[in-house]
Amino acid sequence: MNDLDNEIRRAFDELVNAAPPPPSAPNSVVAFRADPDPRTPRLLAAAASVVLVAAVGMITYTQRTGRSETVATSERTAPSASVATPPPVQTEPPLIRDETGGSPEPATSVESADVEEYEVVPAPWLPGTTEPVPLQGVAYDGVYFAYLHEGPGPEDPRALRFDVLQAFSGQDCLDRFGNDGPGICTPFGIATDSTTGRLDLGVDGTVVTVRDVNSTANYRISGTELLSIINGEPPASSAPDGYGFSGGFGFLLTFDHGTLTRIDQPGDAYTAQQ
């Protein structure tokens, strides 16, 4: 057994040892069966199915809001030197709004033109290699891969928290991961030894394209709509029947010298283009 195995077991030991006693009285549980409302089982089953579809990936939720200024803090997580040492978290100066009095490069979202929600659009261009997380103080510039952060969300309810990772797809991915590639590059492979960046981004003025989890079609929506559906609200009335959102696809975040210009969901089986 190697050190990593020991660390994983130790982590679960800590979590399990901190578990509370199990719920003691089954009354509340059994009472559920006595619910006289015949709709209840169907409603619960429907709710569970929605959860299954919508909670595939790492998702952080914020409250639905109106138009926002882009607010961002950024932090980088980097591997520590020792197995036994907790990974340090380095906090970068915010790239978008400096709350510490410094003067970082601005990164603001681009105001979108009036967006017709759920207009069908082509699948986004998928780079073979996304940009690595920039060094501290350097503005984001280019196309980055990110997941919605799973865990506490940003303080600003108009923002979304993303974990940015360098990703590889297509031949770049196969070259990077060798024999592991076919199992990893579906379509993105992520190098775990790379730095992770964390960004809080206001998105409600940004053009967004999302992937339909059911039809695999791609739709253009507004950032406001993205905030709304991530917050668990139903899609806009213009959404096609059966549309389903999943944060598990990840996102391609495009920046132009620190300015967030668009957000795209690449889907899970998209072939790289040039």
Partner: protein
């Protein structure tokens, strides 16, 4: 007094499901997660026809954890703050680093690793317990280990 089947099932699995919920979703409200999972399972029209109720309940807990991650960001913020080194609750023996590492994984990855490493299940049994394919278990395990390797380094 004769216990009903549901009560029996509850008594049989509540403790292990609470440990499972703590491992994949955090310990603070693991008991509530399990209670809600039982409630959802017992209310399901499929419940009476479920053969592997243990596996079904594992999936129900997983769904509850995912649901709570989606819907309770404010509470999570408060909980994670309580795990911060500066204001760590003395009754929680979980290092902030562990919380950070677990947050880097998906809920399903945590569930897979819990089955493999804490329950000592093999790939096939983990797949059965979580209703996943063996390929998915292998992939999730591989990806999660890569993440953790980087974070624990």
């Amino acid at each position: 007094m004769t216990m009903t089947t549901d009560e029996s099932t509850f008594r049989q699995y509540a403790a292990e499901l609470t440990r499972y919920a703590a491992a994949i979703g955090g310990p603070t409200d693991a008991d509530d997660v399990v209670a809600d999972a039982f409630a959802a399972a017992f209310a399901s029209p499929r419940w009476s026809s479920i053969e592997d109720r243990r596996a079904y309940l594992y999936r129900a807990v997983l769904n509850q954890v995912r649901d709570r991650h989606r819907s309770s960001s404010r509470r999570q913020r408060r909980e994670l703050k309580s795990l911060d080194t500066s204001c760590r609750s003395p009754d929680l023996a979980v290092r902030p680093a562990v919380v950070a590492v677990m947050n880097a994984l998906t809920t399903r990855q945590r569930a897979v690793l819990f089955c493999l490493y804490w329950l000592d299940l093999d790939i096939a049994d983990t797949a059965q317990r979580l209703d996943l394919s063996t390929r998915t278990v292998q992939r999730e395990s591989h990806t999660a280990r890569r993440h953790m390797k980087a974070l624990f380094r």
